[in-house]
């Protein structure tokens, strides 16, 4: 139990490091846009989502309606719904309703990715450890960025920007190397993502929605072409 908790904390460290840099940038931008550092930290502590928060800032400062805010968050963050559905299958019996109510708050892209990549089912102790370090990193980074954004040398801030993607690659490449279906799904998703980025017209689709489209199309193609064996391990 305690070992699982510590393992979760350890697995959360690279996520927290990546978050520190991203939320640092968010805190800096929020204060630059006219929020107080406390308001910036409050957003991070209650939302825990980089894309949603970044999109929310101009809406706030521009005085947008609450409906527009809600719809924007819904579109950008809809992918979490898919992730929660997927991760819900991996939780063991220690994750009752109350635990799910608590843990789902922290189901970010990265926490989801690390939890999903664990062999077998995952339980309460591990997941609480896994959500703790990234949550601390995300709020602390926002605080530091909001309070002291200009103090850190630029080259360090820049280098930290890639941390989160290095982590993503470490999650997807080993299974992509070993399993052809995963390789197919990853390459399909990447190809679609490139299309949505560079093809005129397609590149006007909002970033949150692009991720949903790419993921649903690539995972559907994978599921159609490579259905898992009955009870097969993921």
């Amino acid at each position: 139990m305690k070992a699982d908790f510590i393992r979760g904390i350890r697995h959360g460290i690279p996520i927290a490091l990546g978050y520190l840099s991203v939320s640092f940038a968010f805190g800096m931008k929020a204060v630059g846009d006219g929020l107080t550092w406390l308001q910036a930290v409050l957003i991070s502590a209650t939302n825990l989502t980089s894309a949603g928060q970044m999109a929310g800032l101009p809406l706030m400062t521009g005085g947008a309606g609450l409906t527009e805010m809600a719809l924007t968050q819904l579109t950008i963050n809809l992918r979490y719904g898919l992730m929660s559905l997927s991760l819900g299958r991996k939780l063991d019996e220690s994750m009752g309703t109350l635990q799910r109510l608590i843990f789902s708050f922290a189901n970010t892209d990265e926490i989801f990715a690390v939890a999903s990549s664990q062999p077998g089912k995952v339980g309460k102790a591990y997941l609480y450890g896994l959500m703790l370090t990234p949550f601390a990193g995300w709020t602390l980074g926002t605080l530091l960025g909001g309070a002291a954004g200009t103090l850190l040398p630029a080259f360090i801030r820049t280098a930290l920007g890639i941390a989160i993607y290095g982590m993503f690659l470490a999650i997807i490449l080993p299974p992509a190397r070993e399993r052809r279906p995963v390789r197919f799904v990853v390459l399909t998703a990447v190809a679609l993502s490139l299309c949505f980025r560079y093809i005129p017209g397609l590149n006007r689709v909002s970033s949150g929605f692009v991720i949903i489209l790419c993921a649903v199309l690539a995972a559907s193609a994978g599921a159609a072409l490579f259905p898992e064996k009955e009870g097969g391990a993921p």
Partner: protein, 105 residues
């Protein structure tokens, strides 16, 4: 920004984001029979991360060249199965090194 204007926004953001994450994890708990949906949900994380990483990673440092150095190092180490932290730190170090090289030339 005044707290009076701020609080409704942050409440809406937080509630919408939480409901999206919470409902599918708590409400749908019966085992899934469909092989297609099971496979779909297995593949979703890889698809999401692939789409989120490319091409975005190449813009993550503000300079295509330093980002490419970071990607190259990360891909090699990740392909060899190194840990998340190792890959993440090595990618940052490669970006920092590339920035240094660019400053020198």
């Amino acid at each position: 920004m005044s707290w009076r204007a701020f609080l409704p926004y942050v409440a809406v953001m937080a509630v919408v984001t939480y409901l999206i994450r919470m409902l599918p994890m708590t409400a749908f708990r019966r085992p899934i029979r469909s092989r297609f949906i099971q496979s779909f949900l297995t593949y979703i994380p890889y698809a999401v991360l692939g789409a989120m990483t490319f091409p975005e990673v190449f813009y993550s440092t503000g300079d295509l060249r330093t980002a490419a150095a970071g990607v190259a190092v990360a891909v090699i180490l990740a392909w060899r199965g190194r840990s998340l932290l190792t890959v993440a730190i090595a990618a940052c170090a490669a970006v920092a090194a590339a920035q240094g090289v660019l400053l020198l030339i």
